[in-house]
């Protein structure tokens, strides 16, 4: 913790060896730059590309295939040494296996690089300039060049280039939201106001922005030593959790590799004990491994994920990390920000009170009219005040743009009022022109009102109109009458009571309430030559006529309630985490359904039953609004209890640091947590979360860096769309894997039966690779295009422990049911081919040794014909081809049954996913090309079939 904020200017000069007027000398600055390094944040350490590439080469099944390839080469080496006839078969096989690994590796690497590139473009910032005093001169320097002791000048709109202790300031305000999450601009001056350097007014922090005013200061920290730099390194210290899908795929790889290796070793032992040669046994081992490993699957998974990522990008979810796609689907808790995510991040008039009645205004995103009753003359008066007593203006040249989208110069509530009146009254600027402003007192925090005096647009009426708006209770104090139905009536206690009730009601809805009043100045006292003096206040500011109240809120986005209810039916808990006031937070939570209409908080129950809060049974309350101050004093157990017992939770007045605590609490419940965030100080929470979601519009670069996903439109509803996509991809991956695993049995069985029953080999290793990487690839990718099944958003999020990507059910169904059926089918084809060529099924059993003996060239079939070795081999290849075609055709059927998991095929529709049909036709096409087109290339072991 630094003490710089407590030092006086001259002490600072001493400490940093600088001069407040002249700054550092260039030489000294260069020296410091050399010592401290550039004033920039060290980017997180990137893994070298080559390491990433090698990882792809040895990850997953690759290692198994490498082993296969090495075994092939070894056995081919031995065969060459022994001078066997066809030593190159195994050499080819090894090369093919190596190629498969390298190609899939390159592919996966390319996919990953592509998705990283999208993000890389994000993190590139425009080089920042800073105005520095050095050698007594003002210079524009790149902010990177700043060193401690430099004197910098900042003005409204600048980003603060380093941590700065201010030594001079005029009306300076900074937006610290990226650091602390507070969205209100903070005033900055050169006085020391607080012991805590984070709270004191005389320090401005790196990466925050100066909203208005100017300031001069001494640089006290640069680069990674700045406060933000320390937070950033804190964020990189929070370990990156493995994504659920990565865990799932790892689990799957272990499972399949385990099966492959154990079956392989088992049969290696069996074949050795059956007195096969060791060399042959090794070749069987390779065959079994190749048959068992779904070579194309990991590539398919990557493609499916990136397809989904693309689809999500279209829906405004930009996914940085492909695997995050699925994580979103398994999300069980979403911790969402309020402002901007659930709400429109724009003050809008929500309610009006005049004529003793509350009216609701339309708060949707694209309002063009307002539905409430506007016939009362009170409304006419009120609308005039709203239009006139307002300093906000539209930026010129926006005539074509819808009112709600126009850019306004002015603060949030004035903007809301301006747009509101523009919608209702039409051209506000011309109304103001017709009612010329003659005097004005802007709003300030002492008097809490804003006042202006106008000429009226009525040419016959020469009196001035005084209009005023401000905090309702302050306005009411100044009024003696109140306008009801256009008539001024004295403000008696009954009417004041009505005002109080309305004020409380609107305030209770979490809305910011403003009061409006006016006064027509008598013409005799204030002739049109009268000179108004706002300092002397030579006009009345009391005994005014109260006209009405307007209340404003940052309204929820219109798509959010629907999205929240979707989450609810999908079993996802939505927790609101906001820095806002509990009342506002609760009101918004209620209006979007985070707190449902029927549920109550402890306080609500207490109020209803009229008992103290302490006596309420906490279990009865389904909802909870937790204040940040309460949270601070809570033990972890208490927090866990809240998270457990309440299904609807709002955290209000929370600091971004507390967000991390909340996320960790949720994770302790075993939940998969998605967190939204925009500020720099959200980045630890974003990193900690299973999936961090940064806001694309409001988000800081640090948040975007720490997040796994970026919401381009900052809209909560997009998260829900993302969840749907994530669940869909999980479902579809399940389908893909089930589809891919099925044929592995049909590829494995031939080897097992070959070893046990000694029949001619039904399918060759290379042929297997052609299925895995040829015919089956496109169909399995096509499953990624499968539409969602009807219940996708109605089931609970999957349980990380129980609901695995590859569970027993899926494996058993694929392997032991469909897989076995496929094998039986393929064997029928195999036996048919041999029988039709003269070898009846029973004669095939046990012939392997003679069949493969190249010295036997008069091998007799069931009909007395004699075959040479090559003729037999050729027949064997025909068998391979038939087996291959048989599996391919059965995979078409398999593809169709895999289209659905829960729905019936007719519900899902056979033709809704056109890509499936592309898959089927490609499958058949590739099979035809392989059998008939390439049937004469020996190395491929295909032969034309009849």
């Amino acid at each position: 913790i630094q003490e710089d904020h407590k030092l006086s200017a001259s002490e600072l000069e001493g400490k940093y060896g600088t001069n407040i007027n002249k700054g550092l000398s260039s030489a000294r600055a260069a020296e410091l730059l050399a010592r401290d390094g550039l004033n920039s944040l060290t980017p997180p350490k990137a893994t070298p590309e080559i390491v990433k590439f090698l990882k792809q080469m040895v990850g997953g099944f690759s290692i198994l295939l490498w082993v296969g390839a090495v075994f092939s080469w070894i056995s081919s080496g031995i065969q060459i040494a022994q001078g066997a006839d066809s030593p190159f078969d195994n050499l080819y096989l090894g090369v093919v296996l190596a190629l498969v690994v390298i190609l899939t590796g390159i592919f996966a690497y390319y996919q990953e690089a592509k998705s990283t590139n999208i993000m890389a473009s994000f993190s590139k910032m425009v080089p920042q300039q800073a105005l520095v005093i050095r050698d007594g001169e003002k210079k524009e320097l790149p902010a990177e060049q700043l060193v401690i002791g430099d004197i910098v000048e900042i003005k409204g709109g600048d980003r603060i280039p380093a941590d700065i202790r201010l030594i001079a300031a005029q009306g300076c305000k900074v937006d610290n939201s990226s650091l602390t999450g507070e969205s209100e601009p903070q005033p900055r001056s050169c006085e020391f106001t607080h012991d805590n350097p984070l709270e004191t007014r005389n320090i401005a922090f790196y990466s925050t922005t100066c909203v208005e005013g100017t300031a001069t200061g001494v640089v006290i920290n640069t680069g990674d030593r700045t406060v933000i730099g320390r937070i950033a390194s804190l964020a990189s210290g929070v370990g990156n959790e493995k994504t659920p899908i990565a865990i799932e795929i790892e689990h799957f790889v272990y499972l399949v590799a385990g099966v492959a290796v154990s079956i392989g070793v088992l049969f290696f032992i069996i074949s050795v004990s059956m007195r096969y040669k060791i060399l042959d046994s090794i070749i069987f081992l390779i065959g079994i491994i190749v048959a068992n490993v779904p070579e194309g699957l990991l590539a398919t998974v990557t493609v499916s994920l990136s397809l989904t990522a693309k689809r999500m990008a279209k829906k405004n979810c930009l996914v940085k990390n492909l695997e995050a796609v699925e994580t979103l689907g398994s999300t069980s808790i979403i911790c969402s920000d309020k402002t901007g995510t659930l709400t429109q991040n724009r003050m809008t008039v929500a309610h009006l009170w005049f004529d003793n009645q509350i009216y609701s205004a339309d708060t949707s995103e694209d309002q063009t009219t307002q539905p409430f009753d506007q016939s009362s003359p009170t409304w006419t008066a009120l609308s005039k005040i709203v239009a006139l007593c307002n300093r906000a203006e539209f930026r010129p040249g926006q005539e074509g743009i819808p009112i709600m989208k126009r850019v306004v110069v002015g603060d949030a509530s004035e903007t809301a009022l301006l747009k509101f009146s523009e919608v209702l009254l039409g051209d506000v600027m011309s109304i103001r022109a017709q009612n010329k402003k003659v005097a004005e007192i802007p709003f300030n925090s002492t008097n809490k009102f804003q006042l202006s005096i106008h000429e009226t647009d009525d040419a016959n009426d020469k009196c001035y109109l005084l209009v005023m708006k401000g905090a309702p209770e302050r306005i009411l104090e100044r009024c003696s009458t109140i306008m009801i139905n256009g008539k001024e009536e004295p403000l008696d206690s009954e009417k004041a009571e009505a005002f109080q009730t309305a004020y409380m009601e609107l305030g209770g809805m979490g809305e910011r309430v403003l009061g409006f009043c006016h006064l027509y100045l008598p013409e005799n006292e204030f002739p049109d030559t009268y000179s108004f003096d706002t300092d002397a206040m030579n006009f009345p500011t009391s005994n005014l006529c109260f006209v009405g109240l307007l209340s404003m809120i940052d309204p929820p986005r219109s798509t959010v309630p629907d999205a929240v209810s979707k989450c609810r039916s999908a079993g996802i808990k939505v927790i609101m985490v906001t820095g806002d006031h509990p009342i506002t937070a609760k009101a918004i939570a209620r209006s979007v359904g985070i707190i449902s209409a029927t549920s109550e908080t402890v306080e609500d129950i207490a109020k209803r039953l009229n008992i103290p809060v302490e006596r309420v049974n906490r279990r009865e309350a389904t909802a909870a609004v937790v204040n940040g101050m309460e949270l601070k004093d809570m033990s972890l157990q208490e927090l866990d209890e809240i998270l457990c017992n309440h299904s609807e939770i709002v955290f209000a007045r929370t600091s971004p640091q507390q967000k991390l605590i909340i996320v960790e609490g949720c994770q302790r419940q075993g939940a998969v947590v998605a967190v939204t965030g925009d500020g720099v100080n959200d980045s630890p929470a974003l990193k900690k979360a299973d999936i961090g979601i940064a806001m694309g519009i409001a988000g800081s670069d640090a948040a975007k860096n720490a997040a796994d996903m970026v919401l381009l439109d900052d809209n909560f509803a997009s998260i829900v769309t993302g969840v749907e996509e994530g669940r869909l991809i999980f479902d579809n991956l399940k389908k893909t894997i089930a589809y891919t695993l099925t044929k592995n049995i049909a590829e494995l069985c031939p080897f097992l039966i070959y070893i046990i029953a000694s029949i001619p080999l039904p399918i060759g290793t290379i042929t297997i690779l052609f299925i895995d990487l040829g015919t089956d690839i496109i169909p399995s990718v096509a499953l990624a295009y499968e539409k969602a099944e009807s219940d996708i958003m109605n089931r609970r999020p999957r349980n990380k422990q129980k609901d695995r990507l590859v569970n027993q059910q899926l494996a058993v169904y694929s392997y032991l049911q469909i897989g076995i059926m496929q094998s039986v089918g393929a064997f029928v084809t195999y036996f048919t081919v041999y029988a039709e060529q003269g070898f009846l099924p029973l004669t095939l059993l046990g012939v392997r040794v003679d069949w493969e003996n190249s010295a036997i060239n008069d091998f007799e079939d069931s009909y007395g014909q004699q075959w040479t070795k090559y003729q037999r081999t050729y027949l064997q290849w025909t068998g391979y081809t038939a087996f291959f075609v048989s599996i391919t055709i059965q995979q078409v059927a398999d593809l169709i049954i895999r289209k659905t998991r829960r729905n019936s095929i007719f519900q899902q529709g056979l033709f809704r996913n056109k890509v499936i049909w592309v898959g089927i036709f490609s499958q058949i096409g590739i099979a035809l090309i392989l059998t008939y087109g390439l049937g004469h290339v020996t190395a491929l072991n295909f032969t034309p079939l009849r």
Binding site: Q837, A855, G864
Partner: protein, 244 residues
């Protein structure tokens, strides 16, 4: 328990389905000739005796044991060509295809052992192995329906000249057309395939040397003998090494 039962029933059903389809498939086949014969369009050549290792003969003419196996193999192989065994066989017209398509019971043509001359094993019980003139029988693989054209005959040559003198029985290594076509095991039960005996008179200066010999079938346009991949299609190569 229920799951076990399910798998029992499921696999039982699959097995039944498999058996049934196989049965149906077998019904479509004739027991006389295979449905397709496209994978063996041309016959391969093979020799008897066939040494265990590869097609390499190693023997010592003065050591009976070293060639005992060859002799016994030959003897066994020629048993079925015994006159007594051929009593049912008829004498066919030499030089002509013996077409029996219309006959229900296919007759087999007689192959007289005497045609093998010195290699018939009648005069020389060791088939020439003791004399340094070992006999090797060359036979053509049986293929149903094959009708050789022209005048097929076996011709052998050693790779290096002057090491061996080759004699053929029947003379010229002729394979008579009357033994064709073959009608398959069940229809043509007593069929004997024609043989050509090749007698290798190894020159005395070439003993102890490995003599590579290649035999080919010649003189018939529809019998291939130069297939690149199939080294046994219409030809056969073997090695002989004799010591004294």
């Amino acid at each position: 328990g229920l799951i076990l039962l399910f798998y029992l029933v499921f696999y039982g059903f699959l097995a039944a389905l498999f058996t049934f389809t196989m049965w149906v498939m077998l019904q479509t086949l004739s027991s006389d000739i295979p449905k397709y014969r496209d994978r063996i369009s041309s016959p391969g050549l093979m020799i008897s005796p066939k040494p265990d290792t590869a097609l390499e003969f190693y023997f010592n003419r003065s050591d009976t044991q070293s060639y005992a196996e060859y002799v016994s193999t030959l003897r066994k192989f020629l048993e079925s060509y015994d006159d007594a065994k051929q009593s049912q066989n008829i004498n066919c017209t030499p030089g002509r295809i013996f077409d029996q398509n219309d006959v229900a019971v296919k007759k087999a043509c007689r192959f007289n052992l005497s045609e093998l001359g010195q290699c018939s094993g009648k005069e020389d019980k060791t088939f020439g192995y003791s004399k340094g003139t070992p006999c090797v029988l060359v036979k053509m693989n049986r293929i149903i329906g094959l009708k050789p054209e022209g005048e097929p005959h076996i011709q052998c040559a050693s790779k290096e000249e002057g090491m061996v003198e080759i004699n053929y029985f029947p003379p010229g290594g002729l394979i008579d057309l009357m033994y064709f076509p073959y009608y398959g095991k069940s229809l043509h039960a007593h069929y004997l395939q024609p043989l050509v005996a090749v007698q290798l008179a190894i020159h005395s200066n070439s003993t102890k040397e490995e003599i590579a010999i290649e035999c080919k079938i010649l003189g018939s346009p529809n019998l291939k003998n130069e297939d690149e991949r199939d080294k046994f299609l219409g030809r056969i190569a073997f090695k002989v090494q004799m010591t004294e």
